[in-house]
């Protein structure tokens, strides 16, 4: 087992992390931006690096991997993908980075997880696999950065949080906006009462209907070394090979029935709303069917979370808006903030970073691997923001109001909604 992560944190290793320079910046109003993330420090000895493996490294995963490779305290050592072309592409990136041929390739992630010398994994498969792979990784004792949406249904969301707690590993959901200064500041304004008593928060789900893949006509299955269809299907119910289904981005993301828009973007924007409302350990209890292009949900304390597709200031994708009794704030992927009053930002220097980079989020994760602190997008936070999305999806699918009991984690007097809380996994997979 790699023993370099804990207990051997060097002075420089400490100072380069967010605990040192970054949190100092935080105190002055900026999000912690560690010096290493800005490329200001020197090389880290291989013995101090966090060894990383990648599972399902396609387009998004390659971007995430790039963020990891920017960090001097990371050594990427292995890639697993069901597609040969992707395995080769990622190995090339890693080997070129390190000037060697050391990056190992795997078709079955269980072999990668079985390696004692790997500390952490990046999970960037299609959403079909996220929860199942994450829980396999946790049982193998690996810390993980897991792309979103992290779960396919409510039961998986709860199991995810329980498993991460039980196994004691560090989990960071790929909801990187939690580590972007302007989004974090907007959430802070709402959460700390600077907007007065919070009453309404808005998320942009970018689509409240769902696209999903189906059972397409069978095509000749490729050699499994080229594309391992069985592993690609993984926990999803069986269907024949068809090349059109080889798009992890759209595959079974909603538990096979509902999902899509609300879950795909809600795992970002609803997640931010949850953070703003101080609701990381809870979720709305009432979900109404869509009306006038909006899905209105309500927390126990009366705060409304409204999913809406239109009516936003031009602040780019993934906008959120938080309204209190004395003020409001809106933020989006342009990196800009719009405030009801400039006073709200006086005395603060909030960096305006557009393009929603994941660099800071990756840094937060790596720091937490070292300190064992909870990352900003930890499993509990992800669990409840995903529950909110799944419950909204169920209200959409059933086209009626549903009420959620947060203690029992079931819908009140609604057997049909309750049957949508989970879905069997294909053999042999379990969570």
């Amino acid at each position: 087992m790699n023993s370099r992560r804990f207990g051997q944190l060097s002075r420089r290793g400490f100072l380069k992390s967010s605990i040192g320079a970054g949190l100092a910046a935080s105190a002055f109003g900026a999000t912690p931006i560690p010096s290493s993330a800005l490329g200001r420090d020197g090389a880290v000895a291989p013995s101090e690096r966090i060894t990383l493996g990648g599972i399902g490294i396609g387009n998004r995963g390659t971007y995430d991997l790039g963020c990891f490779l920017q960090q001097d305290d990371v050594q990427f050592v292995a890639v697993c993908d069901v597609k040969q072309a992707r395995r080769d592409a990622v190995k090339k990136i890693a080997d070129e980075k390190y000037g060697n041929q050391d990056c190992k390739q795997y078709r079955d992630f269980r072999e990668l997880l079985g390696r004692d010398d790997i500390d952490a994994v990046l999970i960037a498969t299609g959403p079909n696999w996220h929860a199942t792979a994450a829980m396999c990784a946790a049982r193998a004792g690996k810390d993980m950065y897991c792309e979103k949406p992290c779960t396919k249904n409510i039961a998986q969301s709860l199991a995810l949080a329980e498993t991460m707690k039980r196994t004691g590993v560090i989990f960071q959901a790929g909801t990187q906006r939690r580590n972007l200064p302007h989004f974090a500041f907007a959430c802070e304004l709402a959460r700390t009462g600077k907007l007065g008593k919070l009453h309404t928060i808005y998320a942009h789900p970018a689509g409240m209907t769902a696209l999903m893949s189906g059972w397409l006509p069978a095509e000749p299955e490729p050699n499994k070394e080229v594309v391992d269809w069985n592993m690609y299907l993984g926990p999803a119910a069986w269907r024949p090979y068809n090349a059109k289904l080889l798009d992890g981005f759209n595959f079974e993301k909603g538990g096979g029935l509902v999902g899509g828009g609300v879950l795909e973007w809600g795992s970002h924007c609803v997640d931010l709303c949850q953070w703003a409302a101080g609701a990381d350990g809870t979720a709305p209890v009432e979900y109404n069917p869509p009306e006038n292009g909006q899905v209105v949900t309500r927390y126990e304390n009366g705060v409304k979370l409204i999913l809406r597709e239109t009516g936003w200031l031009p602040l780019g994708s993934c906008p959120v808006r938080f309204e209190g009794e004395t003020g409001w704030v809106e933020a989006g992927d342009s990196g800009k903030l719009v405030l009801s009053s400039p006073e709200l930002i006086a005395g603060r220097n909030v960096a305006e970073i557009d393009g929603y980079p994941a660099t800071f989020h990756v840094r937060d994760f790596l720091d937490c691997v070292k300190t064992r602190s909870q990352p900003k997008a930890n499993a509990d936070a992800a669990c409840y923001s995903h529950i909110a999305c799944h419950a909204a999806n169920i209200a959409l699918a059933l086209n009626r109001k549903v009420n959620y009991d947060l203690k029992k984690h079931e819908f009140i007097n609604d057997a049909e909604a309750n049957r949508l809380r989970s879905e069997a996994l294909r053999e042999p997979w379990r969570i």
Binding site: F14, A24, W215, L257, A346
Partner: protein
């Protein structure tokens, strides 16, 4: 099951679409098949239809569906679909069917069935699972162990215990997982002693290290304060995994005794571990600061000191102010910065007053540091800060100016205005920043803008330009009016600043002003800038479609260059309609923007083809004539053919 309900449910169009394959969009359904129809599909339908019928039965299936679903369990293609329904149907017959299937299934199909039994927590499955845990297929045995763990209870514990002695390493790991799940449930039910006992058995068993760590975590948490000695064992372990576990669990246990234990460890831990213990102490919700953290901040290893300073900032109060200020004025730049950050974070009612009280007696670096902190904490100390503006030390002067910007109220705004008027060069830049910081904070923005506009009278151009930039940052009608006047005025430098600020304006109110400036007799380059700002508003801001189209129409009338026409075309995409496609089509003959016009016309045409087919077709036909061969031409052709 009430059969009539099947006729009113609105979800199943989605699933029917799912059957149809290809990419489909889910939508509210019109009709739902009855359970009888679904069962007929299970009996005689094609595999894809059977699969979707299973998904429907997961929501609407009753006891009647169970036998038909059970028949699919041996089917390699449809077993997982059948279990989707069988896991969800609440009737006990579903449990019975799954249990019964364990007698005949093998391999992965049996594993899946056992997993479903685990999900359903079928209490009647213990005997079946006891049988399966002895299966020679390791996957089957392991699945059984975990399913027993999910079901829980004495009988499950007994089966797991019985299986342990002869188990393979892989099965022992699964047995441990099952046992930990049972202990977890006992703990949740308040049976702490029984949970702790089970955790203890597992952590002393011959199972993989990860399982031992999980059981150790559980054993500590189940015991509460009595588990602290076990926690300390982890923190003192040479094994980094155990140390990491100790750090993690020390955040989970709420008892103040844990903080004491961590503080005690801090005193003896190696520096690299001590820093991490300090961070763990800081993450906990305890009130107060352990003496060892305060001592750690004072001297010794720098990483530990940095961590301690940060924790003091998060958890300290006025009692810690003196120490932090001492560090903030020290020679070590990193520690100094961390200490300043910590002071800014400090809570406590007296912190601000105590900082202000120290100001009159402070000198040199200490004075500059205090002033910087006053600004960051926005402490009211105007008199002392004004005095500091005249300090002979430039660093103190700069800090005072920035602090005034962060802290003055409306009545003292004149101080900063005077400072701006009397400054030059880099001093003027600092004064502008300070004044802007103050102005955007004022609650009565219009009154502030009026005060600033008045202050422009008789000042040099450079000062006027500064004030225009500040007004731009503030926004509001008075600011807009003042900037517009400057942009249309005689002074070229103010035309430059004014048009630049207007070009970045964030509300639609700037539209008419920018149009007016575009038409005014100022230098061409500034009129172009104003027009671009005008079209940016048309493209970006929220407004009714008719208003946006009118803005584009007026903008195009003034646009002389391709660049602005392209901006106009982009704006048209936001409001697809017969009017907007007509405007876009009008530019198809413009060689400078032809390709963009083609793309825009097709884009709009595709959006409006159902609502206004004639307009879409007319524009597509025109676009097709000038479109370059390729995708755009194909899309245009498709539009003309689709109607």
């Amino acid at each position: 099951m009430d059969q009539s309900r099947f006729l009113t449910r609105g979800v199943w169009l989605a699933v029917i679409a799912f059957i149809a394959g290809s990419w489909v969009q889910l939508a509210a359904a019109k009709e739902v098949p009855t359970e009888k129809q679904l069962l007929e599909t299970l009996h005689s339908g094609a595999p894809a239809d059977k699969a979707i019928a299973c998904k429907q039965l997961a929501i609407y299936g009753s006891k009647a569906a169970v036998p038909e679903l059970a028949k699919l369990l041996p089917n390699k293609e449809l077993s997982s679909w059948a279990r989707i329904a069988l896991e969800a149907i609440p009737d006990p017959s579903a449990d019975a069917a799954l249990i019964d299937a364990t007698k005949s299934l093998k391999g992965e199909l049996l594993v899946g069935t056992i997993n479903s039994i685990g999900v359903r927590r079928s209490a009647g499955a213990i005997d079946a699972l006891a049988n399966c845990i002895g299966d020679s297929d390791s996957q089957v045995a392991c699945a059984s162990a975990v399913a027993l763990g999910k079901i829980g209870g004495e009988a499950a514990v007994h089966v797991l215990h019985q299986a342990y002695d002869s188990a393979s390493p892989e099965l022992r790991s699964a047995i441990a997982e099952g046992g930990i799940r049972i202990a977890e449930r006992l703990l949740a039910d308040g049976e702490k002693e029984r949970a702790a006992a089970l955790y203890d058995i597992i952590r002393s068993a011959d199972v993989p290290k990860q399982r031992i760590l999980e059981a150790t975590r559980g054993a500590i948490i189940a015991r509460g304060d009595d588990g602290i000695s076990l926690l300390v064992d982890q923190l003192q372990s040479e094994d980094p995994k155990r140390f990491a576990l100790g750090l993690k669990v020390s955040r989970e246990l709420k008892s103040g005794e844990v903080a004491k234990a961590l503080a005690a460890e801090l005193a003896t831990a190696k520096p690299e571990r001590a820093a991490l213990i300090v961070v763990a102490l800081g993450d906990r919700g305890d009130s107060g600061l352990p003496e060892t953290v305060l001592q750690a901040a004072d001297k010794g290893n720098k990483a530990v000191r940095m961590a301690a300073v940060q924790v003091i900032g998060r958890k300290g109060n006025e009692a810690n102010l003196a120490k932090l200020l001492e560090l903030a004025t020290g020679d070590d730049a990193e520690l100094s910065q961390a200490a300043k950050a910590a002071v800014v974070m400090l809570t406590g009612e007296k912190v601000n007053a105590e900082i202000a009280e120290r100001l009159p007696a402070a000198q040199g670096k200490a004075l500059a540091t205090l002033i910087e902190i006053i600004g960051l904490r926005r402490i009211e100390a105007t008199t002392e800060l004004v005095k500091a503006l005249k300090n002979s030390d430039k660093t103190v002067q700069a800090a005072a100016l920035a602090a005034l910007g962060a802290s003055v109220g409306p009545k003292d705004l004149t101080i900063l205005i005077s400072q701006l008027k009397s400054s030059k060069g880099s001093d003027a830049e600092a004064a502008e920043r300070a004044l802007q910081t103050a102005c955007i904070r004022m609650s009565d923005r219009e009154a502030t803008a009026t005060e600033l506009a008045s202050a422009m009278d008789g000042t040099p151009t450079a000062t006027k330009a500064s004030i225009l930039r500040i007004l731009g940052a503030m926004g509001g009608p008075k600011a807009l009016q003042t900037i517009a006047s400057a942009a249309k005025g005689d002074d070229a430098e103010l035309q430059d600043v004014g048009t630049r600020v207007l070009g970045e304006w964030m509300t639609t109110g700037a539209g008419p002003v920018l149009l007016e400036v575009t038409k005014s007799p100022i230098a061409d380059k500034y009129r172009v800038r104003a027009l671009r700002g005008y079209l940016r508003i048309a493209r970006q801001q929220k407004m009714p479609d008719a208003e946006r189209i009118e803005m584009v129409r007026q903008g195009l009338a003034l646009a002389k260059r391709s660049e602005e026409r392209e901006l106009a075309l982009d704006a048209l995409k936001r409001c697809p309609s017969a009017e907007s496609i007509q405007l876009a089509s009008a530019l198809l003959d413009d060689s400078g923007v032809r390709d963009r016009a083609v793309e825009t016309a097709i884009f709009i045409g595709e959006k409006i083809k159902d609502k206004d087919p004639a307009a879409a077709k007319t524009a597509a036909e025109k676009a097709l004539k000038v479109a370059p061969p390729g995708k755009l031409a194909d899309r245009a052709r498709a539009l003309t053919n689709s109607q």
